[in-house]
Symmetry: C2
Subunit: 344 residues, 2 copies
């Protein structure tokens, strides 16, 4: 089959790789119908060293089950399914607590002999725990929306949930990428009254307004912080959803959070030290979040998509074929595209 | 009156200062019956630069109301009262939410013309919001226990509450100082089943066992982390209460917390950057806590002291007169004494 491989910074290739086969009784093989490029794919795209041992890319996909191992009971050939961005058994103690990202039998796509999601098919380990059946056909118009369950919608929702967003709450979302926009949707779902989106790309922040942002702040740094404080009676918002991952975004988060408030970070941190010292200690600021256990939220979020009450798939502003994926990476990296759909 | 002044590192003096007087209608004047030295007093004791403008020391005291301003309604002369380690109006939005440390009309003892607690008396701003009446006489044997309501018991409790300690929980307490021991008491009050106390001073950790610790780990760093993991099936505890304030203690906290768990820090951080990067992000670790709004917890905790079900005053292992307070600082700093009571 054809799959996407990263040979180094700026070097994405689509090549022939081995067809996926059942290796363990708990595996399934899924023919991929829809996949996409993630903002987090851009970190290695920008910085990975050159290698002859390329990385298999992609961790967001949905498709049709083609074959199942002998121990798989929950899905069968022909089922349309979505895969969260980590696989997990969904039965261990961590999984039962909704922390599938810490599953002892789980892992990530594209490493240790597991396929990536940006290809024509994938072997899915722990298929019963991982795959979630979608009650639609493979030609459904809802597929782009449902694909967001694999990562960005659940990641934005994880930010809002771990921050403890509740009805009437005030929330700042930092970052107007796909995850930031999903965080806006999520804050609104949980009943936030004030949702301030910090971002500089008007096409994106306009979509954020459609999704529920009540205000947009384009300024950054001290100026942006001052602007959010103006909008909140000087205090900042009770919750801040940090959807970027850069140190500046964390500094900005602490700057706009109200005393006693919570910053939840879901942008993968590109820094090892967090500037979170005595001042924020005196203000009783909490820093929570982390990698999203998408599997934990899919059942809860899917109905909102099926009824059309949320349309997270609007973040996809370009669709390409698999063979053109290198240009998709380029377009996202150049901020020409917000998020790119890939049809294998 | 006589009061304690810090002129620089290792230079504590008891001197004559102006007697406290009502300055605002919301003030009260309290004759101090019992005070103490705090672990946090040792930071400036160890490091403050020499000055001719000495700092008024002390933020934990109880005593008898001598005089009240015209707007004070909640306490009257003769009342025995305890003061939390910050004063607050207890009516603003932050106070009503239980975050009296962020009160717009609040502040700390010993600065801006407000007396410290290590003296013979103090003017108490926002007396109605700040002072809590104690239903005992000034000769009560419970006074040392009740004095812990001004800081350490509430600080330990803040750690446990912000960490979300619940019935059946597993908790590591880092630090065997007075706050760490109060955190043990608090974790037990909230129903924790496993309470591991990390500390190296056996007299203190023995007291910790009396207070409810189910295990003690004397090792530090990697060795200490490994030991806690041994005691918890390899996973670490769900909650970690960091009662030290040093960077090593935070590193240790992240090392012993279970995936998805919470570290609450109540030791004033002596560092501005927290080593809290990608690895802990992938484990969904939360960092919460902060300076304790002691006032928020006094009403809830006092009954446990009055009934004798907890005896936090056992942390006091030395009693001195005010004139000898310099030796009290020395003894605590040399770890000769755990916590020193001061009788003015």
């Amino acid at each position: 089959m054809r799959a996407t491989l990263l040979y180094g910074a700026d070097d994405v290739r689509v090549e022939d790789v081995a067809d996926p086969k059942i290796q363990n009784p708990t595996d399934a093989v899924v023919r991929i119908v829809l996949s996409c490029i993630c903002g987090s794919d851009l970190w290695p795209y920008k910085s990975a060293p050159s290698t002859d041992n390329p990385r298999h890319m992609g961790h967001e996909f949905l498709g049709v089950v083609e074959e199942t191992g002998s121990a798989v009971a929950g899905v069968k050939p022909g089922d349309v399914v979505v895969a969260p961005f980590v696989y997990s058994d969904n039965t261990c103690a961590y999984c039962r607590e909704g922390l599938q990202t810490s599953c002892a039998h789980g892992g990530t796509w594209g490493v240790n002999g597991v396929d990536g999601g940006q290809g024509q098919a994938a072997r899915v380990p722990q298929a019963d725990g991982t795959l979630v059946k979608l009650p639609v056909g493979e030609d459904s118009e809802l597929l782009p929306d449902l694909l967001t369950l694999s990562d960005i919608l659940c990641t934005g929702y994880h930010a809002a949930r771990t921050a403890g967003v509740t009805r009437g709450d005030s929330v700042t979302v930092i970052g107007d990428g796909a995850v930031g926009l999903a965080a806006v949707i999520s804050a609104k779902l949980l009943g936030a009254e004030q949702i301030i989106l910090m971002g500089r790309h008007q096409v994106r922040t306009d979509l954020g307004r459609d999704f529920g942002a009540t205000g947009v702040v384009a300024e950054r740094g001290e100026e942006g912080i001052a602007r959010v404080r103006e909008l909140t009676g000087g205090e900042g918002t009770r919750k801040v959803l940090e959807c970027v991952g850069l140190k500046d975004a964390i500094v900005q988060s602490f700057g706009v959070v109200r005393d006693g408030g919570t910053v939840s970070r879901v942008g993968a941190p590109q820094h090892s030290e967090v500037p979170f010292g005595f001042g924020d200690f005196m203000r009783n600021v909490t820093l929570t979040g982390g990698v999203a256990p998408a599997r934990a939220y899919i059942d809860e979020l899917m109905p909102h998509i099926l009824t059309g009450s949320i349309r997270p798939g609007r973040v996809f502003d370009r669709t390409i074929g698999l063979e053109d994926i290198a240009d998709g990476y380029r377009a996202m990296n150049d901020r020409e595209a917000l998020k790119v759909l890939v049809r294998p």
